[in-house]
């Protein structure tokens, strides 16, 4: 048994452990790891997400028990201060000694703070660890309270821009100060930098180039930056991100060879000048270079593991620094020799589109045969293909400019042609060093059957994720080449997609989930994807409520309420069209008061109560129903609301009665189960106060009738609804919406809103018009009939539930006690309450 000690528990140190644990000879070693930070290794690449609400735990590279489970002795918050090479021991800051056979230095780097007078002043920070971010955040809060909002980031490199984005997310005005005449000088040329600058300035960041700081102004705390050109920038905070310095102190003190500008010198096997000591990651000086990217760090970890277990492996002399990332919402990529550092005679091809903020440049050899490198800003969707062409030395098209302009001949083929034409050794995932051969082989050998399996067994795509589209293409192409059909099946339990299951259930008249699974499943037992899907299909086909077979319903449908953050529920009665009498409003107020519910008006013109426990739900609903309310189906994949403006009943501009028609439509489609939620809107004139064009179906009153729009939504990708028909009367509106919705319910994918469905519908809105208006497919009668069944069979499922003692037994937190969940903690919020924050 040999002892391996790793000093440093960052991303690369962690990767070393992961690779060693996975090695077949791991049993011959005892692994001990020291980290000086108080927590185990976390993802520093995505550090800025800490301000987007990710916790330190979310960023963690492994679970809390991973080290223990793999027999690794992890010491956090413990700093190794001494290496005794003669006796092969290390000592921590308290003098406790540990002996090693192999020592791995993964001490990483620290932020480089240039020796500018005044950097010690209050309000100057670095951007490196979670502790740094916490300190910055606390200071920013203090500044904001004092009304001070200006903050600078010193350094316009990759990390500096990340830091600037983080500062902006803290609510401060961010200034980027860069010494060089362009942003990201190591990766970008002037044209690319200009484009990036324009993009980020449009988001409110300010960029100051060619600025050298002479000293930091202020008495105790920072008040500004004084530049050498006699100009200044008044700021209240500074984040220094001017580069990194390798952490080589402990190596230096024990006499290991270090570079003149820092870094522990290693050979291609990652060995230091002492063959029993290895150095990996940002502390290692390999090929006279410090590599500040995570991908080469991971490769170093693997090489070190191999050499320790006795397998030959070496780092290459040339290491690719190609990178693709999203900086402040802007795609940026650079690959190969992007800046022509080799100073060869090359042809530079540039495409600049200021309108769209896109810049693309490639360097090709004079004879037009080889791609040497390039830069992409604003649109890096071709990065994977270009990188493969570059790194595999693949043949270029006759006109190399097609690489960035696309072929204008019109055959529409992708840049690469067929992904299967790539050589087997082509590296697809550079973070995890996974080749095309490994991905295809995982499927060909039978080890993997789908994309999820491939990711699981090769780890491809688990780093930055940039290669995922190409991994998917390879998986699909390999499956196809093996004669296996690539289908959009709903989950592992069925080889059918949603539409096929719809037809099967309708034709064979199945009424239970188990029947469908037994007859058409793959022999499994269902899951959280196929169960609610089949429930929804049966509800659409038979006009059932969610009370039938409640165990296959999604949790919200099972309890007929939306589950909230702490496991309590919300209650939303239907208020059709948003019209409500004062008497009914008072009743709602009294119910909210009686059950102490947080109360709010929703975006869809109704009233939402929050904080109801499972045991309270039926009591609240009984009172609501006794007072003439019914379920609002706010929890279902079904119609939510039809939002209305007040229309010609009151409005002096109104062209028609939008409220009356909105109520009629909401009552018509209430309770109907669909692939996803559906919202409607009715506006009384073109001023469009009901925002009808942001809904799945929307109406606008015009001279001579209604204009009907379909396929709009807000959400993550807002989309305006498209015009389906103009100047039609109420009856025609209903006929067309009936057919539109029914056709959508029949053919959409699971959880696909009408907007996404219409986007992918072959022929788009024109095709839809042919079906809905002209009945080109001859299915309009069927659609009308199916919809009228749904409309006529409507029943309030909450009324069903409270009238059946058997259904009522579902609404209890415990089966063996009347008590409510004792884990709930509420805290006050303004004059109401809310669940305590998640940790």
């Amino acid at each position: 048994m040999k002892n391996i000690i790793v000093i440093g528990n960052g991303m690369v140190g962690y990767k070393f452990c992961e690779k060693l644990v996975a090695n077949e000879n791991y049993a011959n070693f005892k692994l001990t790891v020291f980290g000086e930070e108080p927590r185990r290794a976390y993802d520093r690449v995505h550090l800025s997400e800490f301000y987007d609400g990710k916790s330190a735990e979310d960023l963690s590279m492994s679970s809390a028990t991973w080290y223990e489970e793999n027999n690794i002795d992890l010491h956090v918050a413990e700093m190794i201060t001494e290496i005794d090479r003669e006796n092969k021991t290390v000592a921590n800051h308290r003098g406790v000694k540990y002996s090693y056979d192999y020592l791995v230095l993964a001490t990483g780097s620290s932020a480089f703070v240039p020796p500018i007078p005044g950097v010690e002043k209050e309000g100057v920070f670095v951007y490196r660890t979670i502790e740094d971010l916490e300190a910055t955040e606390a200071y920013a809060k203090k500044l904001k309270a004092e009304g001070k909002l200006e903050a600078a980031v010193l350094g316009g490199g990759l990390l500096g821009l990340e830091a600037a984005n983080a500062v902006k997310n803290l609510g401060l005005n961010a200034h980027v100060v860069e010494f060089a005449p362009r942003l990201m000088p190591r990766q970008l040329d002037k044209g690319a930098s200009d484009m990036l600058q324009a993009k980020i300035e449009s988001l409110g960041l300010k960029v100051h180039l060619s600025k050298q700081t002479q000293h930091i102004q202020g008495d105790k705390a920072i008040e500004g930056l004084q530049y050498v050109d006699d100009t200044e920038l008044k700021v209240d905070m500074l984040v220094v991100s001017a580069g990194i310095r390798p952490r080589d102190e402990v190596a230096r003190e024990c006499g290991l060879e270090v570079g003149t500008r820092g870094g522990i010198v290693v050979n291609q096997k990652m060995q230091t000048s002492d063959p029993n000591i290895f150095a990996i990651g940002e502390c290692a000086l390999l090929n006279s270079m410090i590599y500040g990217l995570v991908a080469p760090g991971y490769d170093m970890a693997e090489v070190a593991v191999d050499n320790i277990v006795g397998k030959d492996n070496a780092m290459p002399e040339y290491i690719d620094m190609s990178t693709q990332l999203k900086l402040i919402g802007t795609e940026v990529a650079s690959f190969g020799d992007a800046l022509n550092d080799a100073k060869e005679a090359v042809d530079e091809i540039t495409y600049v589109n200021k309108r769209n903020g896109v810049y693309k440049k490639i360097n090709v050899t004079k004879n037009g045969k080889k791609l040497l490198g390039g830069i992409l800003v604003g649109d890096s969707s071709d990065y994977n293909s270009l990188f493969q062409i570059y790194s595999n030395g693949m043949k270029l098209p006759e006109d190399p400019e097609d690489l960035i302009l696309g072929s204008r001949g019109g055959d529409g083929e992708g840049l690469l042609g067929d992904v299967m034409d790539l050589p087997d050794e082509a590296q697809i995932c550079s973070c995890e060093s996974v080749t095309k051969g490994q991905i295809c082989n995982a499927i060909e050998s039978g080890e993997a059957n789908d994309l999820g399996d491939v990711v699981g067994c090769t780890k491809a795509g688990t780093g930055c994720g940039g290669c995922k589209p190409m991994v998917k293409d390879l998986v699909d192409a390999t499956l196809k080449s093996l004669g296996r059909v690539v289908k959009d099946s709903v989950c592992e339990h069925f080889d059918h997609n949603r539409q096929e299951l719809y037809d099967l259930i309708q034709v064979k008249e199945y009424t239970t989930f188990n029947e469908v699974l037994d007859k058409h499943g793959n022999g499994g037992h269902g899951c959280e994807l196929c169960k609610p899907l089949v429930a929804s299909l049966m509800a659409t086909i038979y006009a059932d409520t969610a009370n039938k077979e409640y165990a296959i319903q999604d949790s919200n449908d099972r309890f007929l309420a939306n589950i909230q953050r702490n496991g309590t529920y919300s209650v939303v009665p239907r208020i059709p069209g948003g019209e409500i009498t004062p008497e009914k409003l008072i009743i709602l107020g009294e119910i909210g008061k009686k059950y102490d519910l947080y109360t709010k008006i929703t975006g869809g013109v109704r009233i939402d109560f929050f904080g109801a426990t499972l045991n309270q739900l039926p009591k609240i609903w009984k009172e609501l129903i006794d007072n003439g309310f019914e379920s609002g189906h706010a929890y279902g994949k079904s119609l939510r609301t039809v939002k209305t403006c007040v229309g010609s009943t009151w409005c002096r501009y109104g062209m028609d009665e939008s409220v009356s028609f909105g109520i009629e439509l909401e009552n018509r489609y209430r309770g109907m189960r669909s692939p996803h939620k559906i919202k409607g809107g009715v506006s009384g004139c073109i001023r469009e106060c009901a925002e009808a064009r942001g809904k799945d179906f929307g109406l606008i009153a015009v001279d001579g009738g209604w204009n009907l729009y379909v396929g709009g939504n807000g959400g993550a990708t807002p989309r305006h609804a498209e015009l389906l028909a103009e100047q039609i009367d109420n009856e025609t509106v209903i006929k067309y919406i009936d057919r539109f919705l029914m056709y959508y319910m029949r053919t959409a994918k699971p959880l696909q809103r009408t907007a996404a469905w219409l986007d992918r519908l072959d022929g788009g809105i024109e095709h839809l018009k042919e079906i809905v208006i002209n009945d080109k497919l001859g299915i309009a009668d069927d659609l009308d009939k199916e919809m009228s069944t749904l409309v006529n069979k409507f029943e309030c499922e909450w009324k069903q539930a409270i009238e059946s003692p058997e259904m009522m037994s579902r609404f209890s937190h415990f089966v063996n006690s009347e008590e409510a969940d004792d884990n709930l903690v509420f805290v006050p919020l303004r004059d109401q309450k809310m669940p305590q924050h998640w940790k």
């Binding site: 492994s62 679970s63 809390a64 028990t65 991973w66 592992e492 339990h493 188990n514 499994g524 037992h525 269902g526 899951c527 959280e528 196929c530 169960k531 609610p532 409640y550 165990a551 296959i552 999604d554 949790s555 919200n556 099972r558 309890f559 589950i563 953050r565 702490n566 496991g567 037994s809 579902r810 937190h813 415990f814 089966v815 063996n816 006690s817 008590e819 969940d821 884990n823 998640w838 940790k839």
Partner: protein, 125 residues
């Protein structure tokens, strides 16, 4: 919060010292679950009728520390029985508590025995 999690330790059938009679078989939906209170603990119990088995685990989802797992849907992943948390669809093996779609710590599982029409859960204390 960590304190709540510590209450739940996987119990194997060999270590059971107490068989707690929780409720009637009919109190649990077929192919679904319900929650049982035992002293300070909340235990999710599942009647996996399709395969004729019963499972029990902590009701606490370790992701956000909420008492919700009994309200999750059950099913299988490549044959291994699992439950999906209703909050964010984290899935856990009902056999050994392992987190199947992430790298969270495993949840605690408990043995279940059916005697007549009674459901008993095994604890080690």
């Amino acid at each position: 919060m960590e304190e709540i999690l510590k209450q739940y330790k996987t119990t194997t059938i060999e270590n059971v010292t107490v068989w707690y009679e929780a409720a009637n078989v009919s109190s649990f939906p077929k192919d679904g679950g319900a929650c049982v209170k035992y002293k300070g603990k909340q235990i999710a119990v599942f009647n996996f009728d399709r395969i004729g088995k019963w499972y029990a685990c902590q009701n606490l989802c370790p992701h956000k520390m909420e008492m919700v797992l009994s309200r999750g849907m059950i099913g299988d992943h490549k044959g291994a029985p699992k439950v999906a948390c209703p909050l964010h669809k984290k899935t856990f093996s009902l056999e050994n508590g392992e987190n199947l779609n992430g790298d969270m710590d495993a949840i605690a599982t408990y043995p279940v025995r059916i005697e007549g029409d009674k459901v008993l859960i095994g604890f080690d204390e």
